[in-house]
């Protein structure tokens, strides 16, 4: 019983920390509708800045509090800069582009922090009062955890006062509900948004600096924290502060007790909670449906068959691709094989995300399931390569069909987050279930059959499979099914009113996209000779997302162009110093100046002066 009390209190402290991270994210989302991927980076900056400040101050409580506030303010100022320099320019862009831009910021901040603070973990020396404890139920309970338990509700209370009792709050709530109306009231929205963003960033910074006494400032916390924050915000309902608080409580306590009961599956547990909540409450615990999905207001580009010039270009590229083994060496062939895989991976994501309107944040799950299916078939069943390559899309398609049943009922950011949750569950299972999946060490020795061992032969096989599957997906988009799919995206209302079963159509598209990604995974597995959990990691999903957006969501050729360009760019940058900063900057610039992607921009150029 004593133990339960202590663990419950520990859970409360954890919940407070979670809430601090999530509060800023949800406030920013509530008003600006921006899903800020860089929130974890702001948290990390808060920790680093806090370290720089606090290590220079006397170590007593008053100075500590002052230093904490200063660090939060500094982070808020950085947030304001970020808003004015970047986000302000892209409020009208589609959600995903905003997300992508903030992801670019994540990459830039990673290298900037490495440059400024060095690679080593930085810890704050704790004066005795920070190490103090009180006796609770026969155990020692950290004093600082008690402080944290207080800080969470305090921040919630202050935010509530700010939102409910001040003119600023009234304007904010009005802006949350109706941006146009606030504009009509003559309030300068620009300033309002900057202030909100700074507030959110300041909260992230506060969370970061308050994490110092229990941990350290290091280069990994940005991504560790952002997934937690997303989970809390989504479970609570995006934009809802009390929801975030409730979700933080739920997850904090679940962690604390989960550790005792099921120590091995804590990672899965959190995402499982998120999945369950979203299945039963599609908008989170206290969330409300988004008023109007902004995507709907956007003018959607008309999809037309490729013009002859483009067809010729496509044929020329295909001819070149077929001739590659004649002149390319083994390394170039391996790069080209990877590009083919990337093309199919991106095309499969585009299939559901562009025409299907279902943006996924966890597309790597299907890729990974395909890869592992092929690897396990080779390894455990001693199946020949063709069987593995057949199993890959089947397994991935089946898994996508199964998970998709829950996923396709949602839309927008919630849908993206549920895909992320499923992908994280798959990743965690693969990463931790050493006995079956080889865990972190992966499965080795998945090399191609002897007849395909020559890189030239395997390249041609990859060309046939990946190129063929990508062409098939394209074909499907122009076929009646593709039209039906686009119908469900363009106007769900009208689609249902002309007899289309939107759920089934979306599910079929989801499973098909999953199967195609699975095939890409299978081809990749044999090309690399091994599979690893990194195939399923968030980073890999983001790769596909970047490729699609880089090429342009609204064009059918987009994913192909995007995958080729992104692979080439990544490959070129990887061998240079500070490549993450460069890649991030590139993504940011792309969003700012070519929001329609490469293929979109090209199409626009081509169509200039032609009738719509």
């Amino acid at each position: 019983m004593d133990f339960v009390v202590v663990q419950a209190l520990t859970g409360l402290a954890g919940a407070s920390s979670l809430f601090l991270v999530a509060a800023g994210l949800t406030v920013i989302f509530g008003v600006t509708r921006v899903v800020n991927f860089a929130h974890g980076s702001l948290y990390m900056l808060g920790a680093y800045i806090g370290w720089s400040i606090l290590t220079r101050l006397p170590r007593d409580p008053a100075w500590f509090a002052a230093g904490v506030l200063l660090a939060a303010l500094a982070t808020a100022a950085l947030g304001a800069l970020l808003e004015m320099g970047l986000l302000r320019r892209i409020y009208r862009a589609p959600e995903l582009l905003q997300l992508l831009a903030t992801f670019g910021v994540v990459l830039m901040v990673q290298d900037a922090a490495l440059y400024l603070w060095g690679p080593d973990e930085l810890t704050l020396p704790r004066p005795p009062w920070l190490r103090g404890f009180v006796a609770v139920a026969g155990s020692r309970f950290p004093l600082f955890d008690l402080v944290l338990i207080g800080v969470g509700p305090l921040v919630l209370g202050l935010l509530w006062l700010l939102l409910a009792r001040t003119r600023f709050g009234v304007l904010l709530r009005a802006a949350t509900q109706d941006r146009e109306m606030v504009a009509a009231l003559g309030v300068d929205q620009t300033v309002l948004f900057t202030v909100v963003f700074a507030l959110g960033a300041g909260l992230a910074g506060l969370g970061g600096v308050l994490s110092l006494p229990d941990g350290s400032a290091n280069l990994h916390i940005d991504l560790d924290v952002i997934t937690d924050a997303f989970v809390v915000v989504v479970v609570g309902g995006m934009g809802s502060l009390p929801g975030a608080f409730l979700a933080a409580l739920l997850i904090g306590e679940l962690q604390a007790f989960g550790i005792v009961l099921l120590p091995k599956i804590t990672l899965v547990l959190v995402f499982l909670v998120m999945a369950v909540v979203l299945v039963f409450r599609p908008h989170g615990l206290l969330g409300r449906p988004q008023a109007v999905a902004r995507g709907a207001a956007e003018a959607l580009a008309l999809v037309r068959p490729a013009v002859p010039a483009l067809r010729w270009l496509g044929l020329a590229v295909l001819a070149l691709a077929l001739a590659a083994p004649l002149f390319a060496g083994p390394y170039l062939l391996s790069v080209l094989t990877e590009m083919l895989v990337a093309v199919l991976f991106a095309a499969s994501l585009h299939f559901m995300m562009g025409p299907g309107g279902m943006a996924s944040f966890g597309h790597a799950a299907w890729f990974g399931i395909g890869a592992y299916a092929a690897a396990l078939a080779t390894h455990a069943l001693a199946a020949p390569m063709p069987a593995g390559l057949l199993l890959a899309p089947l397994a991935a398609g089946a898994a996508a069909g199964l998970f998709g049943w829950f996923i396709v009922r949602l839309s927008g950011v919630y849908l993206a987050m549920l895909t992320l949750a499923f992908a994280q569950i798959v990743w965690a299972v693969v990463f931790q279930w050493d006995a079956v999946t080889g865990g972190d060490n992966g499965i080795l020795g998945v090399w191609p059959a002897r007849w395909a061992g020559d890189p030239r032969v395997y390249y041609l096989l990859a060309l046939a499979l990946c190129g063929g599957a990508a062409m098939l997906l394209r074909r499907v988009l122009y076929a009646p099914f593709g039209y039906a799919l686009r119908a469900t995206r363009d106007s769900p209302l009208r689609a249902e009113a002309i007899g289309l079963h939107a759920g089934r159509i979306r599910l079929a598209a989801f499973a098909l996209a999953g199967a195609a990604a699975g095939l890409a995974g299978g081809v990749f597995a044999y090309a690399k000779g091994s599979v690893f959990p990194t195939y399923i990691a968030v980073g890999h999903s983001v790769d596909a997302l970047v490729a699609v957006l880089l090429g342009g969501v609204q064009t059918i050729a987009g994913p192909v162009v995007g995958a080729l360009a992104y692979t080439a760019l990544f490959d070129a940058l990887l061998t240079t110093s500070f490549w993450r900063f460069k890649l991030g900057a590139f993504i940011v610039l792309l969003v700012l100046f070519f929001p329609a992607g490469i293929a979109g921009a090209a199409q626009r150029l081509w169509e200039r002066g032609r009738p719509a």
Binding site: L302, A479, P480, F481, R486, R494, E496, H501
Partner: protein, 252 residues
């Protein structure tokens, strides 16, 4: 027998009783206008008729068959076409493709993966577009159409399943007066020729009195009057709650 028979239909949104015990019937070839001030419950009625909203009370019979609570796609299969107050078309498709999409669904050709959709039912789609005067615009993107043209396109889509019942929610909003008359004349003709029962809402009283066989007046969810143009014009309650309010056209 009437095509559509509704009895005791009701639906609340929170404290708002949007539709309250509405009963009426429409016969084949008949044009019934549903009118009432803004917020009277007209669209909510429509939404219950085509299955978009499940009614809390009441029954809906289509050709004698109970369709209460069926989802829109099932209702549509039973021969109910509808247009929306706020147009709902497929912005990434051309005008013709919009109609083709409806035809593909009607002919159960949706689950086809290979042949390009453009080759399916193009002539049939053009014929439908011709009826509403949109054939010349067949290749244009639906997303760039003028509002009036969108309404016409919606009508063509609604006709794609050869409906026995046509629901038109403010079909002429956004059109010039002459266009309105022409469009409603078209509806009138279709109703007559094919025996389609038409239920429509409309804020333009000239249009209503010009084409409707019968008029149903709704106020705060309740039917307050029913009859032909002459009777409605003469009804004191209607004059009080509706005509007197000055809301005569264009609102949506």
């Amino acid at each position: 027998m009437s095509v559509l028979a509704v009895s005791g239909l009701g639906k609340s949104f929170g404290a708002v009783r949007a539709v309250d015990g509405v009963s009426f019937a429409v016969a084949a070839g008949e044009m019934l206008a549903l009118i009432g001030p803004n917020g009277a419950g007209k669209s909510t009625c429509f939404n219950m008729l085509n299955g978009q909203i499940r009614p809390e009370t009441g029954r809906i019979l289509l050709g004698g068959r109970d369709i209460t609570g069926l989802p829109p796609r099932r209702v549509w299969r039973l021969g109910v076409g509808r247009t929306f107050q706020i147009t709902a078309t497929f912005a990434s498709m051309s005008v013709r493709e919009n109609v083709q999409a409806a035809l593909l669904s009607f002919h159960r050709r949706v689950w086809r993966w290979w042949r390009p959709a453009r080759g399916y039912f193009a002539a049939e789609a053009d014929a439908l577009l011709d009826q509403v005067g949109m054939r010349a615009q067949g290749d244009r993107a639906a997303g760039v159409l003028a509002y009036g043209d969108l309404k016409r396109l919606e009508l063509a889509i609604a006709l794609a399943n050869g409906p026995t019942l046509l629901l038109m929610d403010e079909p002429t909003a956004g059109m010039a007066p002459a266009e309105r008359v022409a469009l409603m004349a078209l509806a009138r003709r279709l109703a007559g020729e094919r025996g389609i029962a038409v239920l429509f809402t409309e804020h333009d009283m000239d249009v209503v009195f010009g084409v409707a066989d019968r008029i149903l007046v709704l106020d705060r969810g309740r039917v307050i009057a029913e009859g032909d143009g002459v009777a409605i014009r003469a009804d004191a309650r209607v004059r009080a709650v509706y005509l007197g309010s000055g809301a005569t056209s264009g609102g949506h």
